[in-house]
Amino acid sequence: MDCVVTGGNVKVLAKAIHSLSRIGDELYLEPQEDGLTLRTVNSSRSAYACFLFTPLFFSRYVNPEGHGFRCKMAIKSVQAVFRSLATLEKTVEKCHIELDADRNRLTFTLHCKHGLLKTHNLSFQDSESLQAVFDKDSSTNVLKAQPRVLADTVLNFPPSLDEVTVTVSDERVWFRNHVDQEAEPSKAMLTELCLSSDEFDHFEVRARSSVTFCLKELRGLLVFAESTGLPVSMYFDKPGSPVVLSVTDSVLDGNFVLATLSDESGVQTSDRAGTPAPPADDFMNDELESYLIAMDTSMAAGPSVPAPLAPGRVGSPTATPDPWSPAHSEPGEDLTEVEEEPGRPPNKKFRSLFFGSVYPPGSPLGGHTPSSQKVLASDSEDDG
């Protein structure tokens, strides 16, 4: 891979990397014919983000390795290359990204003013493909707004707020902070903002709906959208189905896919927020299958793979195996090198939405009872 980014696009690339760093710790890089893809996923697998930069984004884009080259590296290392964002525009003339396959290094060379050359040789690891399967076009509801509108909206919520609920009706959208049902009523503060449909560039609501997702992740995308001025589109259906936030222009395409809290008590309709119906804690339902991440495990699915969880079969709330358990890794990869800490239980509310389901639904796995599943990914080497 050998590509060159010039002028203002260097800052766009840097901003994309910074906004990906708000989601996950590792950057998955995959150069292909249709462009360079940068992806990341968070540790609880409840948020996935992906930027595709088409060849036109670059002043030179050459990919002699063709398909098959994929790597991942710590996102902090790449951020270090583009450290001072504020001065990037003024000092960097072009950025050259080149793969040195022999030495497993990715070289970023920044050509700066005054002849200064900054070269960063970053080591990377081979990685499996990270891809979420989602279909935004079949979403029930689609909203599109200028980034300023959304940025001003989220400003009303405290930076510490975890989750936000977005509710739509035929003509309006409500943004409300999600209050944990366990929170003390005397300490809870409810903030609600209502926007009418004419604040949006595009407002298509086919079914009233209310979805709750992580605000921090939305802010991550807004950082990018505001700096590039690109409008943000939001695609969503009902609680439990992921919301897709997307920015796009002729040379790039960014998608943030975020899990939403499901609500077993039925779709929340919203005319006014009175007391919102408390969302259920457990939220697996079979329709998530259409949003599974496809794992490109190039080895054939075989019994050596431990039982992945078919959705809807979760017993206890913590029984969610991490699909990136050791046995899912690519052949040849060190099996002890798992990217996440399998011992750490996923976030209680947004559990793993994306599964590496190797077996098709309706397979013999349907007979698995929760008790026979391992609680979390690590092998339980029983003592004695």
Binding site: M73, A74, K76, S77, A80, R83, S84, T87, T91, R105, H114, G115, L116, L117, K118, T119, H120, N121, L122, S123
Partner: protein, 279 residues
């Protein structure tokens, strides 16, 4: 000036008296070299030199010439003592660090000689504070034996570009490697950290490069933790000269302009971590 009401008899006892209308002209420079608690003060009729050392490998010297001071009287050829630099700085900024335009702290620094404390008279807005700081036996500063005749490579850069590089240096790297050569890459700073290595190259014809005199290729490594101490001095400076001698010892000289436009110098000497090799 209220401080000049000091009686003549007191004055006669001091072997060193140095006065400044604006104490910032000394405190800013001293802040830049406060990477260790203790500093060796050495005064001569030429002015004041303040030395701070770290692990016998790094030495910083701040030079404040006599003509920077409004009054500089010295009764001996050389006066030396050691004080706690942190305490001294606390005293110099005793009226608070904020800069209100038009208001400055006036300083009168007096020393009676061996065994006596360093006395500071500070005045701002009519309020006078007297500080007496205990002095210690001055240690002998290390002589790095760095002389101009032994200099192999020398460059003078505008601080602007070096400041950016220093602020971005990968701190997970234990060393900072400096390459100076008459050929490519001319002047290069390299780090070797957890995520990989990084190089900052300054070509000899860059407009940031004011002087380029490299006679032979030298690659030397210095402990990052030591050189990081020079960042504050770099931040204050407008120009820096980088020199290495045949042993690989590094000399960094910073040209600092104070608030009144006067020039002071801060220099750093650092010994190499290990010899990578001189080609």
């Amino acid at each position: 000036m209220p401080l000049s009401t000091q009686s003549q008899t007191d004055d006669a006892q001091y072997i060193l008296v140095a006065s400044l209308d604006n104490a910032r002209n000394i405190s800013n420079i001293l802040k830049a070299i406060t990477f260790k608690d203790h500093a060796i003060f050495s005064a001569t009729p030429n002015g004041l030199k303040v030395t701070v050392e770290d692990s016998k490998c790094l030495q910083a010297n701040a030079f404040i010439q006599a003509d920077i001071f409004q009054e500089f009287t010295i009764k001996e050829d050389s006066v030396g003592f050691q004080v706690n630099l942190t305490v001294l700085l606390d005293c110099l900024t005793i009226f608070g660090g904020s800069t209100v335009p038009g208001v400055s702290t006036a300083l009168r620094m007096c020393y009676m000689g061996y065994g006596y404390p360093l006395t500071l008279f500070l005045e701002e807005g009519g309020v006078v504070t007297v500080c007496k700081i205990n002095t210690q036996e001055p240690e002998e500063p290390i002589d790095f034996d760095f002389c101009s005749s032994n200099v192999t490579n020398k460059v003078i850069l505008q601080s602007e570009s070096l400041k950016e590089a220093f602020s971005e240096l990968d701190m997970t790297s234990e060393v900072l490697q400096i390459t100076m050569s008459p050929n490519q890459p001319y002047f290069r700073l390299s780090t070797f950290g957890n995520s990989g290595n990084a190089h900052y190259d300054y070509p000899k014809d860059s407009d940031m490069m004011e002087l380029f005199q490299c006679t032979k290729t030298q690659i030397n490594r210095y402990k990052m933790s030591l050189l990081k101490s020079s960042t504050k001095a770099l931040a204050l400076s407008c120009k820096v000269s980088v020199r290495t001698d045949s042993r690989g010892f590094l000399s960094l000289q910073y040209l600092v302009r104070n608030n009144d436009g006067q020039i002071c110098f801060v220099e750093y000497y650092c010994c190499p971590d290990e010899e990578v090799g001189d080609d």
